[in-house]
Symmetry: C2
Subunit: 440 residues, 2 copies
């Protein structure tokens, strides 16, 4: 029995669920078959299998639905070139309809796809045989914003650089953010070139041009925008979730020495715009419902436009970073002071327009413990202590990231009492290539 | 004789040249007929006339050229939906060829278009009958970066906010910049809504949600990227001009009170992302050649990747800002410490990719004189002195921008000795609409 057929067996469904890719998940992404000449297609994942939604749509499987598209490539929501853009723009009714339709299609009793070998051969592919692309397809998002919403992270930075666990003056009033560089967002699996730039070596007065000496990851999650907003119109935090399609893993690679020299007064620039790696799958808020939990209490309370009232909540999502297969840190999405809804509201408050597929990085997600920090800067405390990789340092030690290192972010939502099946975000991977300085 | 026919008369050509839109200019832009149902088209301007390059290309006028496209909409460089993107991506040989072809087409002796009334009717339209769009067409640029490259401006800011004419530590080493918000870039003529956001009133400890009370313009020019660059590859300053299509006027609207509260430590965000207005035309570097002049000397000298050597130069372009038709300030593009070539090189130094149509705002361009400052913050010295609009304050006075104000940026390159015809950038206009606070 081929792996794809096994999905409809009780054992196959249970294995998929245990791996975090069962009927409880139904994540969305864009994939391309490896090696072949095929184009990008919209996808979901069940167990080990990536499902080609573009092919299923063309086969007419969604044509009777209310919020999804027809069989025509022009009407469909799962088009090739635009990735998930049209689907994400449709909003929550379409997302719920697609989720239910896919859960039904892979139910053990459902024969439509199970018994259609030709369509199965066309639409199902093993996850190891695809490369994942960005949710907006080959062109990537137009907007990418990075927030700074973890209090543990911001206080650690304060202690390291200002000598006290103080926050920037506006930090408790505003979900502080900067505009990132959308052209530098790459999908999981893309190698990352160590950047060169201006750094000021300790004790020197003049900067030098040099490969980055203190390369870092940042463990983040990205919220992906569904329906956009108009320029000049703002969205209150209570209305923001209608614009949030889901969450994905994100590694905001950072060149700490370049950042330190450049960032006053306009914020990080070249130290961040060489690469930001997005995870393979966007998990919808629907799939995360069973893992909803209270968000950190806010004191002082936020201004009314940022006040979520009773709707305020976050999700319990276990996060981790492995370097070359060995654990560097563990954290959790719930350690964020500002929610994605508040971030979205603040992003629009002065009138900025949002577009479908735009990304909001959460900011580095650090927990309270010393092995719960979301970047090497904090884990190694500015390089002052070696971080053991894996139990007993079986993976060696690091202060920062070295050439050849493979950095993998993982995320799984799990229920403490085991009543809900886990929901996985997959792996967000990047391997560091050596710098290639400009020859002048 | 209709205005368009008059272009081929000696008098018409002389009038066009005197107005800065003669054969010496040949700017590029994207336009749409007002009121009609027509789509966007690529355009240039001669005198009072906007020329539809998309129509001329379809009529086969460029099909024999080496670097331009064929008659087919798929091959052409002047397509409807992508605006000038394909043309800008072709690089300088194509730009030079198009410039020469258009100069020839409007020469007094050239009959191809002059004597073709049908094509003239299709392709020529009075400038008052079109709206200008962004160079990349209806979708706008994907990348927008704003630099901070005028020393007078940076020193004025230092004096106002830090009490001394000091520069940020990296200012003389790096053309400092932040990523702006591409979705908020709008074409000239788009009304600008006064933003609401968080401000900290003087003497207060808690921010309030309020309409911006100190709305400002910033007199800038934008460099428009032609051929892009690959992620992970850097461009030295000496090689940068191959990637610069030309320059346009740009108004980086700024909400000073929102900016002041939010910008530490990650830079400006909501205070800038409500609107940035781009001018109507991109003037190519070819058209600016006669106005080349020495750029400010740099001390200390830049690092090798930023060193332009003998190629270092800038352009003498008179700039001005009018509020409701009355002069607020006058400046000049040559007052920039960092050139667009250095900005482009620095933007790529860590590996950031650039895309065709990306915009680099120069930063506010201030000259040394008190009426040469490029924004109200400096002109009114933080609101401490009224700025007279027009000679004898015929236009009233301002400290900052009021609702209903029409702010117009102008730019004309002129030769001091009158040997070269002037080259105009047209007008970059925006009128401020009153704020519409969120109802919660
Ligand atoms: Ca970050
Ligand atoms: Ca600016
Ligand atoms: Mg990044
Ligand atoms: Mg702006
Ligand atoms: Ni597997």
């Amino acid at each position: 029995m081929e792996a794809s057929e096994d999905l409809w067996s009780a054992g196959g469904a249970a294995a998929a669920a245990a791996a975090g890719f069962g009927a409880a998940n139904v994540p969305f992404g864009v994939a391309r078959r490896r090696g072949g000449g095929g184009g990008a297609f919209c996808a979901t994942r069940f167990g080990e299998v990536v499902v080609d939604l573009t092919a299923l749509e063309r086969a007419g499987l969604f044509s009777s639905f209310q919020h999804l598209g027809g069989r025509d490539a022009k009407d469909g929501v799962f088009r090739e070139r635009a990735g998930l853009t049209h689907f994400m723009a449709r909003g929550r009714p379409a997302w719920r309809e697609a989720r239910a339709a896919l859960q039904r299609l892979f139910a053990t009793s459902e024969s439509v796809l199970r018994d259609n070998a030709a369509l199965r051969a066309k639409a199902l592919v093993h996850h190891a045989d695809v490369d994942m692309l960005l949710p907006t397809g080959e062109t990537g998002p137009r907007g990418y914003t990075d927030f700074y919403s973890s209090r543990h992270h911001a206080e650690n930075v304060g202690e390291m650089f200002r000598g006290a666990r103080t926050l920037p003056a506006a930090w408790l009033s505003i979900p502080i953010a900067y505009h990132g560089r959308a052209s530098s967002v790459v999908p999981t699996g893309t190698p990352v070139r160590r950047p060169c730039g201006q750094i000021l070596p300790k004790g020197e007065k003049k900067p030098i041009y040099s490969p980055c000496r203190v390369l870092d990851f940042e463990l983040e999650m990205a919220a992906v925008v569904g329906p956009g907003t108009e320029l000049g119109s703002a969205v209150g935090a209570r209305d923001a979730s209608a614009h949030i399609f889901g969450l994905s893993l994100m590694n905001d690679w950072s060149a700490r020495d370049i950042q330190k020299f450049e960032y006053v007064p306009l914020g990080p620039f070249g130290s961040k715009n060489f690469a930001t790696t997005l995870g393979p799958w966007v998990v919808t808020l629907e799939a995360l419902e069973p893992f909803a939990c209270a968000a950190e209490e806010q004191s002082p309370g936020p201004l009314p436009y940022l006040d979520e009232g009773d709707a305020r909540r976050t999700f319990d999502i276990d996060l981790g970073v492995n370097i070359n297969g060995h654990s560097a840190c563990k954290s959790n999405y719930k350690h964020l002071y500002w929610t994605a809804e508040q971030q979205l509201s603040h992003h629009t408050v002065t009138g900025c327009s949002l577009e479908t597929g735009d990304l909001f990085g959460s900011g580095t997600i650090s927990g309270p413990g010393k092995r719960e920090y979301g970047c090497m800067l904090e884990l190694s405390w500015q390089g002052s202590r070696e971080v053991a990789l894996g139990e007993g340092a079986v993976g060696g030690t690091r202060t920062f990231i070295e050439d050849g290192d493979s950095v993998v972010l993982t995320g799984v939502a799990r229920s403490a009492d085991g009543t809900a099946a886990p929901v996985s975000f997959g792996e967000c991977e990047g391997t560091v290539l050596p710098a290639t300085p400009l020859k002048l």
